[in-house]
């Protein structure tokens, strides 16, 4: 019997959509010490900051291998910093449309505070340290999305200095 077939991985990079309810159910299953689940879902908007253009599609590229390693390391760091019981990250790649789900971060803990914090920590970390790149399709053509300095600032509040956008 292949036991690993029954274990849910902590990190999945996929083109397919995901089901929040199913993922949360799997994360909680059998864990009677869990008293809190916090999840974040990022979705594709049809507008980009500072532009009137409508986005018709978004393409997500990543660095296979490094992406998974980087997010695994972030989850390890979250376990060190917060008293959490489980964590799950799914990030989609490939061609996405407005309204599509892009990313899921879900965390479980005994009490809500640790889950809320770890979920935000993982998202802040992922935004500036995981090798994904977005390209937006607009009526004016395709353009790569610029990194935002505000995302570096978000990670800095956890005491981690990153200069991704800078």
């Amino acid at each position: 019997m292949n036991r690993s077939a029954f274990a849910t991985p902590r990190v999945t990079i996929q083109t397919a959509d995901f089901d929040l309810s199913a993922e949360v159910a799997a994360l909680r299953a059998g864990h009677k010490g869990v008293g809190a689940v916090c999840s974040f879902v990022g979705t594709v908007r049809d507008r980009t900051k500072g532009s009137a253009d409508t986005i018709s599609a978004m393409e997500l590229e990543h660095y296979p291998g490094m992406t998974e390693k980087a997010i695994e390391a972030m989850i390890d760091e979250a376990y060190k910093r917060f008293d959490i019981l489980g964590a799950r990250v799914i990030h989609r790649v490939g061609l996405l449309q407005p309204l599509d789900q892009i990313v899921l971060v879900a965390v479980t803990s005994a009490h809500r505070g640790e889950s809320f914090q770890a979920c935000e920590f993982l998202m802040d970390y992922l935004k500036t340290q995981a090798p994904f790149w977005k390209k937006e399709q607009t009526p004016q053509g395709a353009q790569w999305v610029d990194a935002r300095v505000s995302d570096d600032a978000a990670l800095a509040k956890w005491g981690i200095s990153a200069s991704n956008a800078g």
Partner: protein, 83 residues
């Protein structure tokens, strides 16, 4: 020695390639980048030091001071924009 160099996103598009294997005498990422810049053209443009270029060595983010060894996987890419 041989190393693998990968390029992603806008840099990959500009160079027209996502990966190459090359022979180098460089012992640091800085020296390797210098070799690539010396090719001129799209390499000199997209890897210029004035540009925001991120580096990874063996799939971990690093800076130019990192030491290069045979068989290493180096990557050059723009700031990341996932999430």
């Amino acid at each position: 020695m041989q190393v693998t160099v990968k390029y992603f996103a806008s840099i990959r598009e500009r160079l027209g390639t996502g990966s190459e294997t090359l022979d180098t005498h460089a012992t640091t990422l800085q020296a390797l980048r210098d070799e690539l810049l010396a090719r001129g053209g799209a390499y000199a443009e997209s890897l210029a030091r004035g540009k925001s270029v991120r580096l990874a060595l063996n799939q971990v983010m690093c800076d130019e001071s990192a030491a290069l060894v045979a068989g290493a996987e180096v990557a050059f890419f723009p700031p990341v924009t996932g999430g």
